[in-house]
């Protein structure tokens, strides 16, 4: 692992004096307190360097009185920046944290985490793990973390679910830019290539207020690889090929850095799979193609810097053919059949129904360090998201998209951070955003999401105070203003049946006979906040207690949906009367971190007022038969659950880690379970590692997903003309529990002087187990994926 220079802080020295002070101290391992030998201590700005001796001690002489920044590094540890004052009373003890790789699996960032949160858990996927998942999508990668599950539409549309919540309640930050990619829909996956990220962290709550006040579920942070400040050129290429889907992924990146701080990084990914397969049949029309590319460049100087970033993402995803349903009669046939109603031969061709999504993201960021204060950062970003959905249509209209939405967003943010005080850190910032949604009328299908303009403005302040070695306090506040100005066409029959005509007559702009044009304008004032503490006690124990208040304005889909959502074969109806969701989340985490044994226990309670959910309410007769009507409804909900992580290192070669997640959701108004809550999940990983022999790593994963026993009953009866009888359509009964085993192996081979070749093999679902998952919306129609053997070839150069 390389050492890199993190943040260098400008240090000021005051008037000339006699420089005869001495600074003494020792460097210890954060986890077990052992002395670190050979750690490097650099006094920034003075160019004084020393190393620790065999007892982990160091000594710097002839130093002027003043405030300094020490940069402490060790080959096995993360580099740490420490502020000190000279003269210093007594000996200084600096604790360094081991690299995440040392702890092997997903670990939790320790108190050294300067950037995000201190009193709420932040779980991280390392770049090593990401590399082995280069064929996967973001949702699947995040499932490595406890408390994160996914809401799927088949195997290619995968949305992260954090502690039971998803879609607009999960904020995704891609290299400092909040993704604006129509995340509201259940079948809209995040438009992110995992290969463009150096690391991914999940914050299970809204406490990182700088990213938004509406993260009722949590925040996913994708961060690029850190740039090393020296002259070098390096890159990597990963090629994977999988048997299931008979396809693969090629991803490559190249980075050039200079001693003077300039850098450039470019990366590209191409992914292609044919139809995926369940154990007993082909999942017809589930092929996919994905392309991603990004370019990052900039300069990272001592006192200032800038970065330009552009990323492009495009995919085309087939949606399981057998899930396309005409009406209740078809739905009954499909659900009651053990096999999908359409099974064709394997193909790479993607037919309708399918999605085609393109996402452009560009940003420019400038920063300047402020002497004796901190840093000022300003960023502008632009995003353009185009979503096309193609359906099975009559009359040769299949080539014409049924949904064509263009979402453009411009954001301007400024963040001022304060870090001059050794114990007090803080951030304050503002945000301005303009967003426009344009629904192309050429589809010949009524607009699913109306044309709208949206303005957002926000201001936040957050701070952290370290009382002593034991206590750290954290708190923050954020205010968001959202303004939506929409042009929405309503069918007159719906407008009247929901009594909008009585309540909102003033927003009608024009009457077109059976449709009317309205101009709804909404203003939302959202307050959010966080408060918490971290208590470090005994040896390597931490207690994190956090309260967060998140407020989320309803999204366009919740407000404006009305009509048949073809891909879900149901009629969805929103409500313009909705108010903001207000979530009060309490979370407690107890952590113990040692090199040989670590665990985290994280219970939480999330009480959400005006929680918006979508549920079946009625059956509506149409000429194509009966359709279910799903209405958005606001209620008060409580979610509580627990995430547990454990890690034991048995000896130098063997280790085990395990994670367990459980969440329970309750609708307080009906006193019933909430729909679509992830079932309990237990995963255990057995690792074998041999550093001496090619850095061989073997691991076996056992993943047990329990049956969800708590769900609202939403079955309905339909009339079946084919038999002239009534029948029950069972939409609510969850599938059985399942257990999957996965295997992973990799080893390093030195090929040239500067290149390491890493070969990997993954077998997913070793026993080709048939299963269906409660959170897969296509579970009614087909089994989930069968065995997949993936070979991986990675070369670093």
């Amino acid at each position: 692992m390389r050492l890199f220079i993190l943040f260098l802080f400008f240090t000021s020295y005051i008037y000339p004096q006699v420089c005869s002070e001495t600074l003494e101290g020792s460097i210890e391992d954060f986890h077990d307190g052992s002395k670190l030998i050979g750690a490097t201590i650099i006094v920034v700005g003075v160019e004084k360097i020393t190393q620790t001796d065999l007892n982990g001690n160091f000594r710097l002489e002839n130093i002027c009185p003043g405030t300094y920044t020490l940069q402490v590094s060790h080959p096995e540890c993360s580099t740490k920046i420490v502020q000190i004052t000279v003269p210093n009373n007594g000996k200084l003890t600096i604790k360094l944290e081991h690299h995440l790789e040392e702890l092997d699996q997903v670990t939790v960032k320790g108190s050294a985490g300067i950037d995000h949160v201190t009193t709420q858990l932040e779980n991280k996927i390392s770049s090593d793990q990401l590399e082995s998942l280069s064929y996967a999508n973001l949702g699947d990668a995040l499932k490595l973390l406890s408390g994160v599950s996914s809401l799927n539409t088949g195997s290619t549309v995968v949305k992260p679910v954090i502690q039971g919540l998803h879609s607009s309640r999960v904020v995704i930050m891609n290299n400092g830019v909040r993704m604006q990619d129509q995340e509201w829909g259940a079948e809209h996956a995040p438009n992110v290539d995992v290969n463009s990220a150096g690391s991914i962290s999940v914050i299970k709550g809204a406490s990182a207020l700088q990213y938004g006040g509406d993260a009722v579920g949590g925040i996913v942070l994708l961060e690029p690889e850190r740039i090393i400040k020296n002259d070098s050129l390096f890159g990597k290429t990963i090629l994977t090929a999988g048997t299931n889907g008979r396809g693969g992924t090629l991803t490559s990146s190249l980075t050039k850095t200079y001693e003077n701080g300039w850098y450039a990084n470019t990366q590209g990914t191409f992914k292609r799979f044919g139809d995926f397969e369940a154990p007993n049949y082909v999942l017809s029309n589930t092929a996919m193609v994905e392309k991603g590319a990004s370019l990052r460049f900039g300069v990272n100087k001592f006192t200032y810097g800038f970065e330009g970033y552009y990323s492009f993402f495009q995919n085309e995803l087939g949606i399981l053919r057998a899930s396309h349903i005409g009406g209740a009669d078809d739905q009954f046939r499909a659900i009651n059949s053990n096999r999908p109603l359409v099974i064709n031969d394997f193909t790479y061709t993607i037919d309708n129904p399918k999605q085609e999504v393109t996402h452009h993201l560009a940003k420019v960021k400038v920063f300047r360090r402020l002497t004796n204060f901190g840093k000022l950062e300003t960023q502008y970003d632009f995003q353009f998201n185009n979503r096309l959905e193609f359906d099975i249509r009559r009359g040769g209209r299949g080539d014409k998209a049924a949904v064509d939405l263009e979402l453009s967003s411009h954001s301007l943010t400024a963040d001022l951070s304060y870090d001059a005080h050794p114990k007090l850190k803080g951030n304050a910032g503002i945000l301005l955003r303009y967003q426009n949604n344009y629904a192309n009328p050429d589809t010949g299908v009524r607009r699913l999401i109306p044309d709208y303009d949206k303005l957002d403005a926000a201001i936040y302040v957050l701070g952290k105070y370290r009382l002593d070695d034991f206590w750290t306090l954290e708190g923050g506040f954020r205010y968001d203003f959202n303004h939506i100005d929409a042009n929405k066409f309503y069918r007159k029959s719906l407008w009247e049946s929901r009594e909008y005509n009585l309540e909102f007559p003033e927003i009608v702009v024009e009457d077109f006979g059976n449709q009317i044009l309205t101009n709804p304008i909404f203003n939302y004032h959202n307050f959010s906040g966080t408060a918490g503490f971290r208590y470090s006690f005994l040896k390597n124990y931490d207690l994190l207690v956090n309260y967060s208040l998140a407020t989320r304005a309803p999204n366009p889909s919740e407000l404006f949906s009305e009509g048949l959502h073809q891909s879900a074969s149901r009629i969805e109806i929103g409500d313009i009367r909705f108010t903001q969701e207000i979530a009060n989340k309490f979370s407690v985490a107890l952590e113990k971190k040692e090199a040989n044994f670590s665990f985290t226990i994280n219970p939480y309670l999330n009480s959400i007022q005006n929680f918006i959910l979508l549920e079946p309410v009625a059956i509506e007769q149409t000429i194509r038969g009966n359709f279910q009507v799903w209405e958005f409804r606001q209620t008060n909900a409580t979610l509580f659950g627990i995430d547990i992580d454990g890690y034991v290192k048995l000896d130098r070669n063997f280790s085990v880690n395990t994670k367990f997640s459980f969440v329970k959701g309750n609708d307080k108004k009906t006193d019933e379970a909430l729909i679509q809550m992830p079932p309990a999940n237990l995963a255990t990983y057995f690792h074998y590692k041999n550093k001496k022999w090619k850095n061989l790593k073997l691991s076996l994963e056992s993943n047990y997903v329990f049956r969800q026993n708590e769900y609202p009953e939403t079955n309905f009866e339909i009339f079946l003309p084919s038999t002239n009888t009534f029948a029950l359509v069972d939409l609510s009964t969850p599938p059985d529990a399942y257990h999957l085993l996965h295997f992973n192996a990799d080893a390093d081979f030195k090929v040239f002087d500067n290149s390491v070749l890493n070969l990997g093999l993954t077998i997913h679902n070793i026993f080709d187990t048939e299963y269906r998952d409660y959170l897969n919306r296509l579970r009614y129609y087909a089994d989930d994926l069968g065995r997949n053997i993936i070979v991986r070839l990675k070369i670093n150069y």
Partner: protein, 189 residues
Amino acid sequence: MKNLKIIVLFFTATLFLTSCSRNDNGGDPINEEELITTLRVTLVTNQGPNVVIEYRDLDGDGPNAPIITSSSDLLANASYNASMVVLNETESPVDDITLEIKDEDIAHQFFYQVGGGLNITNITYLDLDENGNPLGLEFSLQTGAPSIGNFTITLRHDLDKFAEGVSEGNITNAGGDTDISVTFPLVIQ
């Protein structure tokens, strides 16, 4: 620092300059192109008056219920020739979807089912597609003794017309997607 200011200024300007949207007037309403609002069946017999039965739902998947009408009851013990018209009446002029079905005849087929105690027998296809399989826009039927029951008309597309029983009008093995599934309560007297 000067550069920084210029950059910030530049992007602020961009932000506001690009703030003009394409949809200030709200655009035009979209009429669902593929919507079927109306199925009209005209039953002709030489033993009495024509009977027109109709299913009409002008708001499509909107909340209003369809209107199902019948011009008169069917005569007992009569043979009728039926022909169907499929329309989208939200379009102006009215879109005659019958033509579209005829154009794509190999991908479409109607099915008829009799339920309850309704005495209708001998339902026979009177039209064929290019491959010589039935289409079903035209058919004949025979009424029996006075009775009451359901008569269901289903239109499937992308079905398997060669599957067993399908060309005889048995829907069981047809597969495909349902475009129309309409049940008429009928009276024979």
